[in-house]
Symmetry: C2
Subunit: 281 residues, 2 copies
């Protein structure tokens, strides 16, 4: 496992660095972005927030648009932003090039079906391979939290609910809360996981939450002017599951906000402080 640095930019006294590496679990070359705050120079390993982006994004959207790096610099948080799917000429895509499936739309699951299973193992990538790589090569501790937006909010929730021992806290912006019951999720899961819907539940945050025994601090923000709210996102399903499971979920409806990065930017500082508190506890 080696890392090739693609670029670096100084920002808020730290460094935004893009890397490329050969992923074993994804069978392809991958790029990701890291923000290293100025505190790396103090020599003490820093905690890491993993950020999972939404449909059509890659490693660059969050770093460029979220306005998160000022607070990360103040809080001494490393942020790692992976890509949203395997990439490359050998990786199969939606036959019609749709934006909600295939490239840019890995949905953070481990695919079981051909031709997807060879590359689309995004869950193992973001939960295991990438953190191992980060913790081997960069000045970070093994304290991890996870957040994301939309498809990436779904990803953050399922990672934290499936393997809570790996994370200190989880948050999400406008997550796909019940992918087994919405068009984006049904399309993706039927291809990646096959037609047997019983197998889908292990990748659905609302299903996983109902079974959760280990609880993490969890914060979810959702804008009420989000065009995808009713059909795709379904925050009530997660709230209901949390209530039934006694899971301490903080789920907020933010009046007037939509699905864009302008919404994320408006609340990302609160999320970073939420994670910093858990990571440094």
């Amino acid at each position: 496992m080696s890392l090739q640095q693609l670029s670096a930019n100084k920002v808020f006294g730290g460094q935004h660095v893009r890397y490329e590496h050969q992923s074993t679990v994804l069978n392809c070359s991958m790029q990701f972005a890291v923000y290293l705050p100025p505190q790396v120079e103090l020599g003490k390993p820093l905690p890491v927030l993993y950020w999972l982006s939404g449909l059509t994004c890659n490693d660059e959207n969050f770093m460029q648009k979220a306005g998160a790096l000022k607070a990360a610099a103040e809080l001494g948080l490393v942020i790692v932003a992976p890509d949203t799917s395997p990439r490359g000429a050998s990786v199969p895509d939606d036959p019609e090039g749709a934006w909600d499936f295939g490239l840019g739309a890995g949905f953070y699951v481990n695919a079981t079906q051909a031709p997807w299973a060879k590359h689309y193992q995004m869950y193992d990538y973001v939960v295991k391979e990438l953190p191992a790589l980060i913790e081997k090569h960069l000045p970070v501790s093994d304290k991890r939290s996870i957040s994301g937006h939309s498809m990436g909010g779904h990803g953050a929730l399922i990672c934290a609910l499936r393997e809570p021992q790996r994370y200190q806290s989880v948050s999400a912006f406008a997550p796909v809360c019940q992918p087994t019951q919405c068009p984006w999720g049904e399309k993706a899961f039927s291809h990646y996981l096959g037609a047997e819907r019983e197998t889908w539940g292990e990748w659905d945050a609302s299903v996983l939450m109902a079974q959760a025994t280990q609880h993490l601090p969890m914060l979810v923000d959702q804008g009420d002017a989000d065009n995808f709210l009713v059909e795709q996102l379904k925050p009530a399903a997660l709230q209901d599951a949390a209530k039934r499971a006694g899971y301490p979920l903080t789920s907020r409806l933010q009046p007037g906000y939509d699905h864009s990065y302008y919404f994320i930017a408006s609340f990302i500082d609160e999320h970073l402080r939420f994670h910093a508190q858990a990571l440094k506890a």
Copy 2:
């Protein structure tokens, strides 16, 4: 003069709105973006910061990437981001589609040469037509400041130096300080203004500064890891002119920063506070 709203996003309690309108001075349809902070609801007209973007940009780059809107919301500043050139099928472009001339590269001058003069009147657009439109239709005062990046930093400086009575303050990130003596400026000016180099000086910040009689608060930041620093940007020319003219220029070299929006993001809050102080004085 009428405005058509293209989109709106709530952000930091205010609104990011994109508009389209028919520009008289540019002879084409133009788009621009406005940030209206939450204080517009208090009913008192707010001061405006005009932001001029650099080569290849349009009205969206600053709003998405600068991370400026949190401070604008706190300070009660309206921000207006125009496009960087006239647009549309009838507008001539560089014959080879170069990124440093033509579309996306209006250089904020009033062109005098065919075929450019019919549309490329960006100075009159950003200094006169657009502020008149903004002040007619939006809840703003006639207190204006101006800032920009690279080509847009040049634009901000020449606007403020040519018509200081229209602005309260001016700042720039990595501005093209001496366009009459660098490749970007020489290419653009020779086309827009013609071969007579004597006419170019009225669009060169370092030349204008030497003649300045009315002084504004002026802040310039430049990264010392900027790839364009030596060949294109030449901050020393502006510093020398300021020294000779007795102009109170604050010009800072920021160690390690490059030409990207990561540099702008790192210092935009300081610039906004600088302008807010002048606008509210």
